[in-house]
Amino acid sequence: MSTEGVRIRIAGVGKEFGALRVFQNIDLEIGEREIVSIVGPSGCGKTTLLRCIDGLVKPTEGEIRIDGTAVTGPPRGVAVVFQHFGLFPWKTVYENVAYGLRLAKAPKEHIRESVPRHIELVGLKGFEKAYPYQLSGGMQQRTGLARALATDPHVLLMDEPFASIDAQTREILQFELLRIWESRPMSMVFVTHSIEEAVLMGDRVVVLRGRPSSVHEVIETGLPRPRTRDVLSSPRFNEVRDHVWSRLMHEAEQAERELQEVR
């Protein structure tokens, strides 16, 4: 992140659930046209952090500001793609994608124009009338993505969006998402378990670590945009991936040692 403005400012944020302290002292600034990947072991609070940014839960300490305004509830212009898809089984693809716009009382003409456009954007043209149970996991997540994009957000929060999708589909979706982002760059927080994915998507990769967790390291990927498949075989990509890998492995080994001690 360099010359452009800051969109999300996370300052000294911590979260406790009763006696459980999930994370603490998180400081992070995310630019207007920046993708920040977040990696960390399961249960370290990645989803919780996204919830805090979307105002769905309140941090116990610190403050999050979006465009200078403190987050107290779900802000306008922020959309989430959920780890669990979160599609409504009683709505068709069309109605699921239209959900955010309908709640925002968008004009009918706008909905009629925007919903089909976004369904096409994620490659689901022809599936407008299908119900979620008729879709594969990848198609469901595309629907979730279209629903988020249809509200024309300037902040997109992605919670392991491709985690439960097979490897090939995931790769297709990753590059589709990058293509969409190139055509309308926005501020994006991308939570993932996959180190390759984190490096491929992000301008920076944030490694969360510890218990309670905090930002252990922030790695600038320094990979060129627009990112194509060539990136995957570039020396820089491998270098960054190995670096992040060693950071996380260290963590995993330590967790293993702790477990042994407990035993």
């Binding site: 979160g86 009683w90 955010g100």
Partner: protein, 273 residues
């Protein structure tokens, strides 16, 4: 895409499809029962006891409104009962869904009401008919109150259960898209409880039919219930059996229509797990 993936049907050594087979078996059982009824009554019972043959013979007369002078016509009775049943279902299902939803989403409403709704549900509400005649007189209002209550209670408790078990992920999505409380109640909690509402509706149909007939017996209102009492007391057993049959058909038909409507309008139902 509109086609729904079907389970693979394995070829069977039988000629008939599984559905046809099941229908044939069902019809066979029915015929067997009718024959058994006919034979046993002829063999053991006095002649005025209804048999399938006498019922069949009475059927055209009853359907043509040939009834003893001074009693309500058959179709008049059917109409009275059917209208009461549908009014009761309309009032009870709507009210039950609204109160169940409120109890499911508002802790205060839950604490205030659930104990009493459960208690009423466990109680045979037809025990209230005599009391209600004191309140409402010997009028149609008693029947309407009983059938409405009969539909209200099971729907209310089922919708309550449904709205308590709305996946929190749905609510989270709604909130993320700035849903207000009424959007969550009516846009999320209610549709996601529809399977529960349908289960409640099935119970309601049974209870409403029982409620209507018993209220008609006791309060002596025009309807199939009082027709059954009158015909059986005057030894018109075949005529009485026609009324019983109509009630059976009514119950099966309402549930059948509900099933069809579910398949037509809620294709996602039972497939979303």
């Amino acid at each position: 895409m509109t086609s729904v993936p079907h389970a693979v049907a394995y070829p069977r050594p039988w000629r008939l499809g599984a559905g046809t087979q099941r229908t044939l078996i069902r019809i066979g059982t029915g015929v067997l029962l009718l024959v058994l009824w006919e034979v046993l009554v002829r063999w053991l019972a006095p002649p005025f006891v209804a048999r399938p043959v006498t019922v069949a013979r009475a059927l055209p007369h009853v359907l043509a409104n040939h009834v003893p002078a001074g009693t309500p016509t058959f179709w008049g009775s059917v109409e009275a009962t059917v209208i009461a049943v549908f009014e009761g279902l309309a009032i009870g299902v709507t009210g039950g869904a609204l109160v169940g939803l409120t109890m499911g989403r508002l802790r205060t409403a839950d604490r205030l009401l659930r104990f009493y709704v459960s208690a009423f549900f466990a109680m045979p509400i037809i025990a209230l008919v005599p009391v209600m005649t004191l309140w409402f007189g010997y009028s149609n209002t008693v029947r309407l109150a009983i059938v409405s209550l009969g539909a209200f209670l099971p729907v209310c408790l089922n919708v309550y259960d449904g709205t308590r078990s709305v996946p929190s992920s749905f609510v989270e999505v709604a909130q993320s898209y700035h849903a207000r409380w009424w959007n969550v109640w009516f846009g999320i909690a209610l549709p996601s409880s529809l399977p529960y509402l349908l289960a409640g509706f099935r119970l309601a149909v049974g209870r409403v039919l029982v409620g209507a007939v018993v209220a008609e017996y006791i309060v002596n209102l025009k309807g199939l219930g009082s027709m059954i009492v009158f015909d059986s007391r005057t030894f018109h057993q075949p005529q009485m059996m026609v009324a019983v049959l109509v009630l059976a058909v009514l119950g099966v038909a309402i549930n059948g229509v509900a099933d069809l409507a579910t398949r037509r309008f809620l294709p996602w139902y039972r497939r979303s797990e």
